[in-house]
């Protein structure tokens, strides 16, 4: 009932997988700590690492003023570090500025976009440095982008020596080969890494076709397979508001048909997914174990999955974690 007896197969590789931390400093620190706590050989952050909002912090007469959670907060300038740390925990980017700069950013979308990109890149640089400082040298740290991550961030990841970013590449993990793709099918939000289902299917196939025959693989695809139970999200109307039926939000599958078809066709050992925060779970598609650990970054909680891989590349066991 609790899984097949695994006989003489022994663990060769332990993966810790988390996703969708969206700029949360506390979640990223927990992600690094997970290597030690769960005794993982490889830790993988599967996309959507970038934060979503900048909190302008106005400097006026020795005081700092900002709007946090709908309420205005005023603290002495000396409290900057604490305020910035508190905001960073929730994935917000605090930026000190004066009223003139605030006005300029409000009127100049391009300047605001540049500011976002620079904040995200700076955060990624800090995170990579932190990984280098905290991780045991034997632990591999893989960070791949998701649809919400600006393409500029890839360069930061690629340039850093301690972190690997095998986006659109084959990655040898020992008993298995991993392929990664952060692109998702078109969303109503028109984010940076989107394409049609056909194009997505083509990109996945091109990568998986390169895996040598008979070699076990795992796929790190940000979007979960369609109608897998890992992709349930609120149904939206034309104004992007949740549809209410029977007094409750209507929930529908919003995953990718191309991802599902690829998994059915290639039958990788494991599918690592994210994208839909509330659809935490694990499902089998054929012989493939598909996992979406979900995300609860705004509460400072890191949801993840521990996956044990045997010497022959098969999946020994898995566990969804909350930390």
């Amino acid at each position: 009932m609790w899984g097949k007896a695994k006989g003489s197969r022994k663990r060769e590789l332990r993966i810790y997988f988390a996703t969708d931390v969206h700029g949360s400093e506390v979640c990223f620190r927990k992600f690094l700590a997970a290597a030690r706590v769960y005794e993982a050989d490889v830790i993988i952050l599967g996309g959507d690492f970038a934060g979503k909002a900048i909190v302008p912090v106005l400097t006026e007469g020795g005081m700092l003023r900002a709007r946090v959670g709908g309420e205005e907060v005023t603290v002495p300038e000396a409290e900057w570090d604490r305020l910035a740390a508190d905001l960073g925990k929730a994935g917000l980017y605090p930026v000190r500025m004066d009223t003139a700069e605030l006005r300029r950013l409000s009127a100049d979308e391009a300047a605001l976009d540049r500011l976002f990109r620079s904040e995200i890149a700076a955060q990624m640089q800090r995170w990579c440095d932190l990984a280098a400082e905290r991780l045991d040298p034997s632990v591999r740290c893989i960070i791949t982008p998701g649809n919400d991550d600006p393409v500029d961030a890839d360069a930061v990841l690629a340039a850093h020596g301690r972190v690997e970013c095998p986006e659109l590449e084959l990655c040898d993990l020992g008993p298995v080969t991993m392929v990664s793709l952060g692109v998702v099918p078109t969303t109503p939000w028109n984010t940076e890494r989107e394409c049609t289902e056909e194009e997505l299917g083509k990109q996945i196939s091109e990568m998986l076709d390169q895996v040598p025959a008979g070699r076990p693989s795992i796929v790190n695809l940000h979007c979960p397979p369609y109608a897998s139970g890992l992709d349930d999200a609120p149904e939206l109307d034309t104004t992007l508001k949740p549809v209410i039926r029977g007094g409750r939000p209507s929930i529908i599958p919003v995953g990718s048909r191309a991802v599902r078809e690829a998994i059915k066709r290639y039958q990788p050992v494991v599918g690592l997914h994210g994208h839909i925060h509330e659809s935490r779970g694990a499902q089998k598609i054929g012989r493939t174990l598909c996992v979406n650990p979900g995300s609860d970054y705004s509460s400072g909680v890191l949801r993840g999955a521990v996956i044990d891989i045997a010497q022959d590349g098969s999946c020994l066991d898995f566990l969804l974690t909350t930390g």
């Binding site: 005023t74 209410i244 919003v254 898995f318």
Partner: protein
Amino acid sequence: MTSSSEASVPAGAARAGGTESTRLFVRQTSGLVRELGIPAATGISLASVAVVNTFINFNAGLTDFAKADMYLPLVAGAVIWLVAMFAYRYLLRAVPRAGGEYVYLSRIVSPVAGSVAGLGIAVVFTYVLSTNAHFAAQFTPFMLSGLGAAFHSTAVANAGNHLTSNIAIAWLSVVVMLIVAALSLFSVRIVARIIFWLIVLQVLAFVVLIGMLAFNSHADFVSALATYSNHPNAYGAIIAGAKANGVVFGTSIAAAVAIIPFMVLNYNGVLYSYYVGGELRRPGRTYLYASAISIGVLVVLWIGVWALLRARAGLTFMQAQANLGVINPTAYGKITSLSSVAGGLGYGMVLSGDPITKILFATAVPLAEIAVNLAFLTVTTRVLFAQAFDRLLPVRVADIGERNHAPNVAISIVVVVGIGFCFLTSLVNLGSIVALQSLFFALILLAGGVAATMLPLRRADLLTTPGMPDDARKKWLRNVALVGGATTVLALFTVYELVAHSSVYGKFQWESILTLVIVLGAGPVIYVIARAVRRQRNALDLNMAMRELPPE
């Protein structure tokens, strides 16, 4: 993409909101704005309460306690939920996610406590499914009687008389469970539509009943009862029969206090918008308004209908009718064919002059129970899902059907266990079914109170606002602890009342104790077994799922 718990802005480039000095810049990312406002959240709260179930609880209060009146219990029940509402507001603010007590306990108290609560709730909710099916089965004779009257069919009306034995009630409960199971196999979208229309029907029945009571006089009721019963003085005969059988009339404070747990159960569900905390816009505020409005609406509706029932039927008559039907059903049956458990809906049936309203009243309770069971089945399977993901239960429990996208295995488990409970509740003396249900829900409320009390002690970091001065922070945390403590005390009071009146609310016999032990012990037992089996198979240690990751 992100969840509905996001605060991002859909479409368009990065943009700003708020006043000039305090705006927040949000970049273009996928995800929803929290869009469920107060009206939607209020709808969720009201939909989670079976409005017509109040007649079941009125009847239970009248039969289980002498000199029962409902004014004080209705108000006290509302006050208890009102205090709890503030405690859950803080919990929701700290953990603005779906999941309820399982999530709150696992985050704030300990992951193991969360798991125990999760399994307990799964068992309790499965039990509730069976008690709801049992209620629907008990109302079948009343339903057939009403439908017979509506369609002028004595065969249909009399059919109910053959469905009153324990074994008949047990099988009828099973039929209700199977109907619910069959409906649950449709997609979630269709199930939601079915629930919605079933709720519309029961609310319609309630509103029609209020109108009927408001527009008829006491004399009209007495006369209508005589006609309905084919007994010229049915009203007086019922009161006289009750007197002769020792029924005590009037009101007493002690009885009113003792009935409070029934009314706590009556309001259960009124705060359930916290279960969709991730979708609420400004969750703390929206939840607070939605819950307060819902409690207010229910207080007005239920106190209003109780006042109308007292004015039209009379308290003495209601006490006489409910008790005579239990103490001396033969004598009662000789006076009238009106079901003694139907309460207000029965009085509506008596006053009803047309077949449409008769059908409405006749089917209100069974349809309401099916609606509630559909909703509970969805929640229960979700709780089982969570346990399966944490490997406390077999992973297969979370399997999704290829065709219907429904959790067929989880549904099957809940229905099979629920059917087992149906036979137990019908054939075995478990004490008062309603009362055990009250005790379970009181314990869930207690769990919420404990989580709120522990919140400032264990996870103050989830509560405080960035930049909040230390003094304000301390005061704020103290308030949270006080509200949590008050909720815990009120929940304990409810538990005390249940235990103090165990002769009514579930005698502590071996059957009822065994049930309680199964419910409360299921979590730890399954945890220990699952962990041992996994250790034996050299699989990942379950403890790993419960480890806290250091944030620094």
